[in-house]
């Protein structure tokens, strides 16, 4: 006697749970019960769970009876000719959707030849064991698992043609690749996903060789000629926005060119791009500090109407300007309302991004690297046919990572380019590597994909043959232009007087605890002091009370302590401002930190 639950609500009992479940599944296959119903018999707890709720993830499988799949070649032919459809097969019970619970009772074969009478289901395709992105890796079944996942992870960060309406969108931090291409070496998923309509990489000629040590540690060497011909060029979009917020008392922000009486008025120069409506004109070329949207806000604290009934009517400047290191061209402006009905102005900036040293690229096998140098086309090595590669990839990246798929894609790409066809690299079901290589030989190339190459600078023949072919490379959204930053002096925080943090605020790079320890270990005591000088302060300390004093404006700015006043014996002491704050904090806790001062000499 097993309890039956529908959506985890107790509904009744059945005498023969196994039979009950089998009947229910049979009814579902026969179309008497909806196809989205799933059922599970848990023998451990002796419960039957029937699931009808929405929100379960289900997946389709081919039903197997007596070791034979119900899906026959006739079905496939009919599907191809359009005689029958997917949902027709579902109705016939050839295919069924199974959820995680019902899967517990199923034995699923991945390949048809693995089927035994015990099997209940068959995967529709063996690549079903992979995710959508992972299945995009060609010849991925030749790769080490970890690399496959990395390749998939990084593909998500690739630039491409992410949306056809990108020019009216206000997405944050996006890029559009100028000349995206379809990959020569594809997988089944590229057709399913209609990848050709939104590709995200380019087919490049790649040579596996080192170049003066520039491509050590995963770096890549790029042909300058390729870049000049448009390789991996992209446009970067960054929207900024301003809202007219409403405040209490009927006051509100105003988007306009601030007038000169405004508090915090910058300079006329800074507002030069603004048009009459206070918004920048399209196609203006702006750089750091330029105002994009002019805005003023009402005063922060309303100081009431005073005696003489003169309303102190100053407004605060709160324009939106470009942050440190930003530049671009105004691309698109949108005027709308936000959820509360306030005026919302969005200005999108565009910036051309030519590949430069430090930009990140990746093949589909998790082989990522940054550009280390850009070499003039004339200095690149060339093959006997006069082919100069676009990218030089270091051979040291291969052995330890075991990305054999990377190497096979390279020959595959070469054959695909020569035969003007696309190579199928679908995992577990790809074109035979040997066949590909034999085909390569028919085009008059070395069967192993290598070629004789010549030094681009001297014209001498290279001592070894170079593995040369075509691959699909992706440009990732991590670009130095967005990250490069340095500082010698700059803004500090108000509270601690220490440098600000982060690129947008022109911040410093923190010398942390462990870095400090290295100075200590070297005994570089004075260097350490100098490094931590950023918030140094000279404060007057009273010898009698041991407290940090203050400068009394009424007494000619004399330093004195709060206890002894004019009788204080003040001495200037150099300490870090953070330590002064710490002492203040102790005082706030009711602790009296007494500093003992002593002459240094």
């Amino acid at each position: 006697m097993a309890d039956v639950f529908i959506d985890h609500k107790f509904i009744g009992t059945v005498a023969q749970p196994t039979e009950f479940v089998q009947n229910l599944i049979a009814d579902r296959r026969a179309g008497k019960v909806q196809s989205s119903v799933n059922v599970q018999y848990d023998a451990d707890t002796d419960n039957v769970y029937v699931e009808i709720a929405k929100g379960r993830s289900v997946r389709p499988l081919i039903v197997v009876k007596n070791g034979k799949p119900l899906l026959t070649p006739q079905h496939v032919d009919q599907l191809k000719s359009g005689e029958t459809q997917w949902f027709e097969l579902l109705k016939q019970g050839v295919i069924e959707f199974i959820d995680a619970a019902e899967e517990e009772m199923a034995l699923v074969a991945i390949e048809e030849q693995d089927l035994t009478p015990e099997h209940t289901h068959l995967e529709i395709s063996s690549i079903d064991i992979l995710g959508i992105i992972t299945a995009l890796v060609p010849f991925g079944d030749y790769n080490q698992g970890a690399r496959l996942l990395q390749g998939a992870k990084n593909q998500k960060q690739a630039m491409g043609f992410y949306a056809a309406n990108y020019f009216v969108r206000m997405d944050m931090d996006t890029s559009i690749l100028h000349y995206p291409q379809r990959p020569i070496v594809t997988t089944l998923l590229y057709d399913v996903l209609e990848y050709d309509k939104h590709p995200s990489g380019m087919n490049v000629t790649i040579a596996v060789m080192s170049y003066k040590g520039y491509n050590m540690e995963d770096a890549i060497v790029v042909n300058k000629g390729s870049i000049q011909r448009g390789f991996a060029r992209s446009t970067y979009f960054r929207p900024t926005k301003a809202e007219e917020l409403r405040y209490s008392g009927g006051l509100m922000d105003e988007i306009s060119i601030p007038d000169k009486e405004t508090r915090g008025y910058r300079s006329e120069e800074d507002y030069r791009f603004l048009e009459e409506d206070g918004i920048i004109g399209v196609e203006s070329k702006v750089a750091e500090g330029d105002v994009v949207i002019g805005k003023t806000s009402p005063p922060r604290f309303l100081s009431g109407v005073d005696e003489y009934n003169l309303v102190t009517n100053y407004r605060r400047e709160s324009s939106v300007s470009l942050k440190h290191g930003e530049k671009g061209t105004v691309d698109f402006i949108m005027l709308t309302e936000n959820d509360e009905g306030n005026k919302l102005v969005q200005v999108r900036l565009r910036d051309d991004r030519t590949p430069e040293i430090g930009d990140k690229f990746i093949s589909r096998h998790g082989q990522k690297g940054v550009i280390a140098t850009i070499v003039p086309a004339a200095d690149m090595p060339f093959s006997a046919n006069g082919i100069t590669p676009d990218i030089l990839f270091s051979p040291h990246g291969i052995p330890s990572r075991m990305t054999v798929g990377h190497l096979i894609e390279l020959v595959g790409g070469k054959v695909g380019a020569l035969s003007a066809r696309r190579i199928d690299g679908t995992m577990f079901n790809n074109e035979n590597e040997r066949d590909i290589r034999e085909e390569l030989a028919t085009y008059g190339f070395q069967e192993d994909g290598t070629e004789v190459m010549y030094n681009g600078e001297t014209g001498e023949e290279l001592q070894v043959k170079i593995y040369l072919g075509n691959m699909y490379y992706l440009r990732l959204k991590h670009m130095v232009a967005n990250k490069l930053q340095s500082r010698a002096r700059g803004p500090i925080q108000l509270l601690t007087r220490q440098p600000t943090e982060g690129k947008a605020k022109e911040g410093g790079l923190r010398l942390g605890e462990m870095e400090k320890d290295t100075f200590v270990a070297h005994g570089a005591s004075l260097l350490l002091k100098e490094r931590f000088d950023s918030d140094k302060a000279i404060v007057p300390v009273c010898e009698r009370s041991g407290l940090v004093g203050f400068y009394d404006g009424r007494k000619n700015n004399r330093a004195m302590s709060s206890i002894h006043g004019d009788e204080s014996e003040m001495h200037n002491v150099e300490i870090s401002y953070a330590f002064k704050l710490f002492l203040d904090e102790l005082i706030s806790l009711g602790i009296y930190p007494k500093i003992g001062v002593k002459r240094r000499f």
Binding site: T518, A521, H522, F532, D535, I575, S576, Y592, F601
Partner: protein, 366 residues
Amino acid sequence: MLPPSIKKEVETYVKENKLTAAKAKKAQETVEREYTYGKVDAGEAVGTIAAESIGEPGTQMTLDTFHFAGVSEMNVTMGLPRLIEVLDARKTISTEMMEVYLHAPYKEGQDIKKIAEKIKETSFREYIKEVNIDVLEAVMTIALDSEKMALVDASPDKLVKILAKSAKGVSFKADGNTIIAKSTSKSDTLKEIYLLKEKIKSIYINGVKGISMVLPVKRDEEFLLVTAGTNYKSILKIDGVDTARTITNNLYEIEALLGIEAARQAIINEIEKVLDNQGIDIDVRHVLLVADTMTMTGKVLGISRYGIVKEKQSVLARASFETPLKHVFSAAMHGELDPLNSVIENVMMNQPVPLGTGIPKLVMKK
């Protein structure tokens, strides 16, 4: 200049080799020079260097627990968790174990099983073959495992004595190879017998308390016992145990029994064991410094806020490590004075730290 022991060594060398006076002097000078050269310079940040030297390779250590070499079915905590345990000087460690060395004849493997069984803590559970409860009579009949009993020279009568001592309100009677238990109270006897069944299983019968497993191991032509659980004091009292070499991995037991110097050596050995196991090569002197610091107060202190950090003189140094408020408040209550003479306080105040280039000072001519 030279410590007495080295001085003596030089002198005996001179005597043994009958060196001339000039040569003897030269030898003396050379040794002195090398000795001075080998000394750490004043102001060298030995502590920081030791910390970095152990800490950096420590990041590469795996968190795995390895199976102890040659011992089956025994997991020993090694690697980073064990290192942290030693350095923190934890009172309870995750795998306590001992290596019990033996004298002849056990050393050669003779009767090794017997002594192993003698050491292992056994409870009554292990001698039971079968338990039957007569519900009507409220009588429990326990069939004993004679093989097991023979190993430790136990007889049913002996067991009855032990049982009678620890279980009150029940009468036990030996009958051949079985023990019959009967409740002496009048009411609720059946329930009591049921409870008794579970209770008597955990009654201590034989062996050294705290030793839950004993495994005989052959190492370098010699048999020894590796135990799970430790009880250093009791083990050393057992006949046939080589007291000179038998060791536990519990620092506090060593400290209590053999003193602080032994505990220091034990810390060094335990750290080295972990480092060797991980294939990490660290100069011993770093480890020595750590062990010295942990034991310099005369008791084992861990590198934690309850251990050596608590012993620090400076309020600011203690406050900068962990739980700052606690230290600041207690300092305020006791009116502590911070002489500001170590590293961290001076970093906080942005003053030169008293190390390396921070040591030399300008002296004004009076």
